[in-house]
């Protein structure tokens, strides 16, 4: 996510909806992607993203520019997504099954590329589901957002060793899952 001009943030913090829309356009895909990867389903991700932007609009007036706006936005997003993920674990697993059924039923009308894309998405989703929400948030920030350990620590407000150990455990979990899948095949 690219840093946003300070003037734009100041305009939006004064309640300028046009300026806020520009912020939304520049950041919404990042927010939605994190929300989707952490929660695991589109309905929850949309709700999380909506809450994030409302919270940002509400609190932007109090933002003092002591830290980076993008770090602040990532923090709100990750915290909201982790909370939503913890709250709706059962509902989420039901939703995933429902979505998978739709994908199989509609598969005949899609192009090969679209099907491959959806299969990859489903694979990533099922990989992330094996992790707990904290590990999931950490690995999403690292692998999908490409953040360095220091940035992840700042967003999650944890120390560097916690970031390191969460990433290591997450990868070990994913490796053993892959081994199990291979042994079943």
């Amino acid at each position: 996510m690219q840093p946003l001009p300070k003037e734009l943030l100041i305009e939006a913090s004064g309640g300028d909806i046009g300026a806020f829309e520009k912020i939304y356009r520049a950041t919404s895909d990042y927010v939605y992607t994190i929300a989707l990867k952490v929660t695991g389903n589109r309905a929850d991700a949309e709700e999380v993203a909506q809450d994030v932007f409302l919270k940002v609009f509400r609190k932007l007036g109090k933002f003092r520019f002591e830290s980076s706006f993008t770090t602040w936005l990532y923090r709100i997003t990750v915290n909201n997504a982790i909370n939503a993920s913890r709250k709706s674990t059962r509902r989420r697993s039901g939703q995933v099954e429902f979505n998978d059924n739709i994908e199989v039923a509609d598969g005949r009308d899609r192009t090969r590329e679209a099907i491959e894309k959806e299969q990859n998405e489903a694979r990533v989703r099922s990989m992330l589901e094996t992790l707990n929400p904290d590990q999931r948030a950490c690995i999403v920030l690292r692998e999908i957002e490409g953040m360095r350990y220091e940035e992840i620590a700042e967003v999650l407000q944890v120390n560097l060793n916690t970031v390191r150990s969460r990433l290591r455990r997450a990868r070990e979990t994913l490796c053993s899952r892959a081994q199990q899948e291979r042994s079943i095949q």
Partner: protein, 176 residues
């Protein structure tokens, strides 16, 4: 470097480019010499890194902005209502003040009414406390009665002289 130490670094700092040049060099040297750790590194990349790093970024659904905007407008409306309520509260007078004002007004009205002399209905005189007026009133009543006595035109009179004056009720006749 031992395999345990190398694998810890392989699953974190080494893969993520967080090691300094010297530490990285040590891990690379270990990998050159250890088939097991090399396979471990490949497995981690294949199972836990590449699928996620290659995952495309999602696009927020178009309806999301509409929902955000509606939410903001709703919050702004609530904010305006809250501000108006605060203004109203700042001018608000408690009910006890209204009650005290009403009681004071009632007392003032009562005093004004009691201080004002009673007037005689239909009379041209100002009031019964007006002594001069009262005397005039009494004189007027006596002159009416005297006129009735002399002319026989009292209440219920038949006009046949003083003996036939009819004072109305039996009680009035007895008293008169």
């Amino acid at each position: 470097m031992k395999c345990t130490e190398a694998r810890e670094l392989l699953a974190s700092d080494f893969l993520d480019g967080e090691l300094d040049k010297d530490a990285r060099g040590e891990v690379v040297k270990h990998l050159d010499a250890c088939d097991g750790c090399r396979r471990f590194e490949e497995a981690v990349r294949r199972a836990a890194v590449d699928p996620l790093r290659n995952a495309p970024r999602e696009t927020a659904p178009p309806s999301l902005w509409l929902k955000v905007r509606l939410g903001i407008e709703h919050e702004q409306e609530r904010g305006v209502r809250a501000a108006l309520y605060r203004v109203w509260r700042s001018f608000h007078v408690p009910w006890t003040a209204y009650a005290a004002a009403s009681a004071t007004a009632a007392v003032i009205i009562a005093i004004a009414v009691l201080r004002e002399p009673l007037t005689v209905p239909g009379s041209t005189r100002a009031s019964l406390t007006d002594t001069e007026g009262l005397h005039e009133y009494i004189e007027e009543q006596f002159s009416i009665l005297a006129y009735q006595d002399t002319n026989g035109t009292g209440n219920g009179a038949n006009g046949n002289g003083a003996d036939s004056v009819n004072f109305g009720t039996l009680l009035e006749e007895y008293l008169m």
